[in-house]
Amino acid sequence: MLILLGAPSPPLLGQEARLAARLPHGTAVEVQRLVDSAARLRLPTEPLIQKALEGESKGADSSRIMVAVGGLLARMDTARQALGNEASEAELVAGAAALRAGADPGSVHTLRTLRPNRSLFVPLSVLADLLSDGVPASQVWSSVRDMASNGASDAQFLRLRDRLGRDGADRPRPLPPAPEHAPGEASPERP
């Protein structure tokens, strides 16, 4: 991890009351340090707070919370390097999600060059969702890249996700095809 190792303890720039109210004191202090780092780096802080609160609500231990929050901070930093300093908060969050799902920073940067004047929030979200859904990375990337090249709208990206995602007809299927379930039933849990 990158940002704080070996650095002197930074002054706490602010106390986030939600962290103090919900997390054990030591964890709250450590998470607050990461939040303060993000603030100094001009990276979004709210996603880090939400990640910590998610861990708390799910009963995760402190080390797991720290790994999750620190990992998100690192990925947002990488996303900004790929997207440029002008990237919006929404783009950084979606970019971090895409990186977590397996996209490489070079691909994220390529998307920026293909769609320089429009937000990448939706294309990056769709990229993240399809990779998380297990759609083969090559198929996802070629579709997203081609659509960005051709000036596709956000709505068209969302339709791509409908087509290739978990229930989509264009999603590659293993042979023999998976048994269908009746309409209205939830999809089975993924392992």
């Binding site: 709505a155 969302l158 339709r159 996700r161 409908d162 229930d167 309409p183 209205g184």
Partner: protein, 179 residues
């Protein structure tokens, strides 16, 4: 280069009826097609669409996202169509006896016009919310997110409606489809 929807909405807000004419003409094909398929009757569809267009103009100040004028207008049209359907007596209901009778004595259905008639009849037999979801998804090619925003239904409910509509349409048309 023609003005965008958002620019035209701005002018309509200032009372420019010519701008409104240009705006609705731009979208009329989709509106006419959706109204007709939802209601299954040309006269009803014309009335519902005229009603929707007049309401939209009078309430143009409530279009909070001018760049998404079409979606806003579609939601008004769908409300008008739903109101009509709720008031209308059921003309065609699911009826096993009727289905059997029609299949037994049906004419030659290989011509395109008769195929179209069968499609219209099958559509009219869908539950209104299933028909609406099916048309928006497969004919108007909206994403589930867009349809959810238009209808207020959840994505899971919409997927269920579309699936049921497809099953019902397959069942109603399987005997008359010559692929």
């Amino acid at each position: 280069m023609s003005a965008s929807d958002a620019e035209l909405v701005g002018r309509v807000r200032g009372g420019d009826l010519t701008a409104y004419a240009e705006l609705v003409t731009r979208h009329r094909q989709r509106l006419e097609r959706l109204a007709y398929h939802l209601l299954g009757d040309a006269a009803d569809a014309e009335d519902a669409l005229q009603d929707a267009l007049m309401r939209a103009y009078r309430s143009i100040s409530q279009c909070r996202h001018p760049e998404r004028f079409q979606a806003w207008l579609l939601s008004i049209l769908m409300n008008r169509c739903r109101t009509r359907l709720a008031r209308r007596d059921a003309v065609v209901r699911d009826s096993p006896a009727r289905d059997a009778l029609e299949r037994a004595g049906g004419p030659d259905l290989s011509e395109a016009g008769l195929w179209r008639e069968e499609i219209d009849r099958a559509l009219s037999r869908l539950a209104p919310d299933q028909r609406e979801a099916f048309l928006l998804k497969h004919v108007e090619e909206l994403s589930y997110e867009e349809i959810a925003a238009l209808t207020g239904a959840s994505i899971s409910a919409l997927k269920m409606r579309v699936n049921r509509a497809c099953e019902r349409l397959r069942d109603l048309l399987k005997d008359v489809y010559h692929g």
